[in-house]
Amino acid sequence: MSAESHVVEHNAEHSFRQHHFIDAEQQFTTSKLGMWLFLATEILMFGGLFVGYGLMQSVYPEAWIAGHHHLDRIMGAINTVFLLCSSFTMVMAVHYASTSQKSKTVVNLLLTLGFAAGFLVIKYFEYSHKFHDGLLPGRYFAYHGGGPSQQAMFFGFYFAMTGLHGVHVLVGMGLIAWILLRTMKGEFSSAYYTPVDLVGLYWHLVDLIWIYLFPLLYLVN
């Protein structure tokens, strides 16, 4: 890289590069490293629920099978497709942000928000159906259609896991709306799009967790 282009780049960096980083590249990779550390803690937080799920499934397989019959596979599959598509539009938004294509970034962020909203709408219908039938966790379980009493525990895991995941979807939507506004203000370009990239990583993790939740909860067999 020639000296004058380095000077130009240095001036362009001036607006976003913090003084304790050598250059924009180092600042970018450091931000990503921090995000990955955060994602590791997220995996371990959900991990506790997965461990409890695995233990109780091995103790009460019949309650798990009875419980999952109350879940709607079609709705679960549609939600899986929604989240996979939202991950795709998110990575396209990152791609366009990294190549300074503002309007395409905005479109893809809007599509991501749309898929996320669709996910929550379906989740709402599923939840209200469960509430109506009394398929509630623990001592609130009031279903009178028979089956093993430990279904109450299955629904404890169902609501804890999908609920925590749903909160992550809501937080992710807030973050996407935030970078959408910043994109529209023209704050990102190929020189600096770190927030878009990091929100993208968060959103893909939300997708990743659902990839496991869907077969474990809806497709127990």
Binding site: F28, K32, A40, L219
Partner: protein, 136 residues
């Protein structure tokens, strides 16, 4: 410039989405086939999910092109999660059937009461702290 040279073309994302949707179809289809036992079905579903998760991590999350330290953090968290799952599984697989505390009152075997509380605890062992109980 921030990983600009490494930014892959958009086509790979389209291909990845197609693969993910295809694998989702496989997962749903496999759930309707009985492979012998529900645990075999579960293992198959989790294996397919792991393939999908790897695609998301490698391509959508750019781990292919990142410095290896990010992948090391990610895989380490999965290894520790594996340990977290493994040891309780060994524990629960090597003992008699465990009745969770709150649910004990629904199936009241008097014999179970002898195992639970320490000597000196009152007989009403099912009452205190049974907040998550499924009692009626």
């Amino acid at each position: 410039m921030s990983g600009h040279a490494h930014t892959p073309s958009a086509r790979i994302y389209v291909v990845t989405l197609g693969a993910l949707l295809f694998l989702t179809g496989i997962t749903v289809g496999a759930a309707y086939i009985n492979f012998g036992s529900s645990s075999i079905n579960l293992i198959i579903a989790v294996l397919i999910a792991t393939v999908k998760a790897s695609l998301v991590a490698m391509i959508f999350m750019h781990l292919r092109h990142d410095p290896p330290v990010n992948a090391i953090i990610f895989i380490s968290s999965l290894l520790f999660l594996g340990l977290f799952i493994l040891f309780p599984m060994i524990d629960i697989g090597s003992r008699d059937k465990v009745v969770p505390y709150g649910l004990r009152m629904q199936n009241p075997p008097p014999a179970a009461a002898g195992q639970a509380p320490a000597p000196g605890a009152p007989a009403a062992s099912g009452e205190h702290g049974a907040a998550p109980a499924a009692s009626h």
